[in-house]
């Protein structure tokens, strides 16, 4: 069966005064129906641009985005509008700004249903109520009549999730859905997304700057750096056999419970490269602790690890013990 989503060599460029800025540079991805892909990277690595370009909310410069056999890049405006919100929907980062302040919650959810599914106002309202209940909003009837500013951040994000789920999309893109929220609410929202994804059999792309967020909730993880994917593997394998030094550095930067309190976090020194005029060689080279001569001259391509379902872009990857023979090939997913 062909994958639900297949992105090939996607490039997104922005024009700047200094020249074209390549925010997404040759990204290829595959996602099968009902599965979850995590995309991880630090701020400015192109994850948000990538997620928006999937629905052409930012114009795509080159590449193909084949969703269910149709290329989103070559669709005309009206086909595109049918896919948006119906087959693929997005949950944005900040629920404070992604809801319209002057419309009630009910009318915002109903609008999509009326538009895409040609529901009557009444039916749409009833469905909006069900959706609010499904995303765990207490007394949904009262909430339908309220405005966004009357809800807390966590509640608002539940509302945006309800809106995104309204037309039963086959792919949900969650772009840092918890970054703007209180820590205590973050896990609830993530669990809600995971639960809805399982119940509805959707595929999901979960974008985060936090490896901890995607760790337990994805089947596969792609690590992005400076507009490119630098490592990709099933979630368990990525954590067990990290090969790319950047991923390793990201893992070290996560605070851990077993460490004594006030242990210094290992930050990654330096800054990401200039995307308008990147230096030759590996883009992580200036910050990499394992950098050698070759890294500054040749850019490593994303290559398979040979044995396992694991790609990484590094000339001198982190050494790991050989896989035991019985687990060669596809390594178990999830890993927990």
């Amino acid at each position: 069966m062909p994958p639900l989503l297949e992105v090939t060599d996607l490039c997104v460029e922005f024009r700047t005064e200094r020249g074209p800025l390549r925010a997404v540079d040759g990204v290829s991805l595959k996602l099968e129906a009902g599965r979850t892909l995590g995309i991880v990277g630090e701020s400015g690595c192109g994850k948000t641009v990538l997620s928006r370009s999937l629905l052409r909310l930012t114009p795509v410069t080159a590449g193909r985005i084949v969703f269910d056999g149709r290329d989103i890049v070559t669709m005309d405006e009206s086909e595109l509008r049918d896919v948006r919100g119906r087959d693929v929907s997005i949950v944005f980062q900040d629920p404070m700004t992604s809801l319209n302040p002057v419309l009630t919650i009910g009318s915002q959810i109903a609008e999509t249903l009326i538009h895409h599914l040609r529901m009557s106002r009444r039916a749409a309202r009833a469905r909006a109520r069900e959706l609010l209940a499904a995303v765990g909003i207490p007394s949904p009837d009262a909430r339908l009549r309220e405005y966004p500013h009357q809800l807390s951040g966590g509640m608002r994000q539940r509302v945006t999730i309800a809106m995104a789920l309204a037309c039963e999309p086959r792919l949900l893109v969650a772009d840092e859905p918890t970054t703007a929220l209180d820590v205590t609410v973050q896990a609830q929202i993530l669990d809600l997304l995971k639960q809805q994804q399982r119940e509805r059999g959707m595929a999901m792309i979960l974008i985060s700057h936090d490896l901890g967020v995607v760790a337990g909730r994805t089947d596969e993880i792609a690590v992005m750096y400076a507009g490119r994917i630098v490592e990709r593997a099933p979630t368990g394998l990525l954590f067990r056999r990290t090969r790319m030094p950047y991923t390793e550095a990201l893992l070290r930067a996560i605070p851990r419970l077993e460490h004594a309190s006030h242990t210094r976090l290992l930050a990654i020194g330096g800054r990401p490269p200039d995307l308008v005029d990147p230096a030759p060689g590996c883009r992580f080279a200036p910050r990499c602790s394992r950098v050698r001569e070759r890294c500054r001259i040749d850019e490593p391509p994303l290559m398979p690890d040979g044995a396992a379902d694991h790609d990484f872009a590094c000339w001198y990857p982190v050494e790991v013990p050989d896989l035991p023979p019985h687990s060669r090939g596809r390594v178990g997913v999830g890993g927990t």
Partner: protein, 299 residues
Amino acid sequence: MAAHSPDLTTEAIIVAPAAAGVDRPPRAWHRLGASFWLSVAWLALVTLVAVAAPALHLADPNLQDLTDRGGSASPQHLLGTDGLGRDMLSRLAWGARISLTVGCASTLLGMVVGTLLGMTAGYVRGRPEGVVVATMDALLAFPALVLILAVTTFIGHDISIIVGVIGFLGIPAFARVARANTLALAQREFVLAARAMGASELRIIGLEILPNIVAPVLTFGLLVVAVAMIAEGTLAFLGLSVPPPAASWGAMVAEGRGDLDIWPQVSLIPATVFFLTIFALNLAADRLRRVVEVRESRI
């Protein structure tokens, strides 16, 4: 994933603050203050008298009684008579009809056209925006009085023409307010979210942007009503508004100015009513704008 488990978020959860923070603002009419409600009361009174003028059994506003010129208040003439012996109260009431009609109708015209133009310019950007902005700048630079003189001289003094000219001159102001608000709103994430949900550009303008600019445009419109009424008063003072003998506040002030030394009230009464009305409009608009702005900043 045992030792490598970075899955901290789920473990760190202790409480579930599911209840939404519902903090309702204090009732809007408390925050508007007494001055606002006094202004509204005055405006309501003027509007009521203007609307009900034909039903109030007032004296004929154009009936002259040259034996009772500049008469003071009496049971027949509650506010006295003007220099031609016409009933002042009646003329004020009928004059209010003209002032308010011109003020409101021309504002409405400028508001609808200006808002549509400004919203389109602010949302579509590019070439259409350039054309709209340049046209509006040209319109603002054009001497308004010359335009009005030309129009009233060559086309006529009919009230619909007065409304048309003043409304036309109000378009750039509304276009600017609408464009400025649209520019800011178009950058907001909910517009992007609407697009991600498959909304067309027209739906975004109508359903996402428009409801957000209604409040600022309407409060601004209240100020423009005052400006339009002053414009009509000025035209009337110059004899360029509706032709006599029709009563208009500006015309009443003008008619009394020759007799200021003997019957000052003939000019001063309409001038005072005019002043109070404009003052009330400005005050109400200002208060309303502040409340709307506070509300905007909360969301």
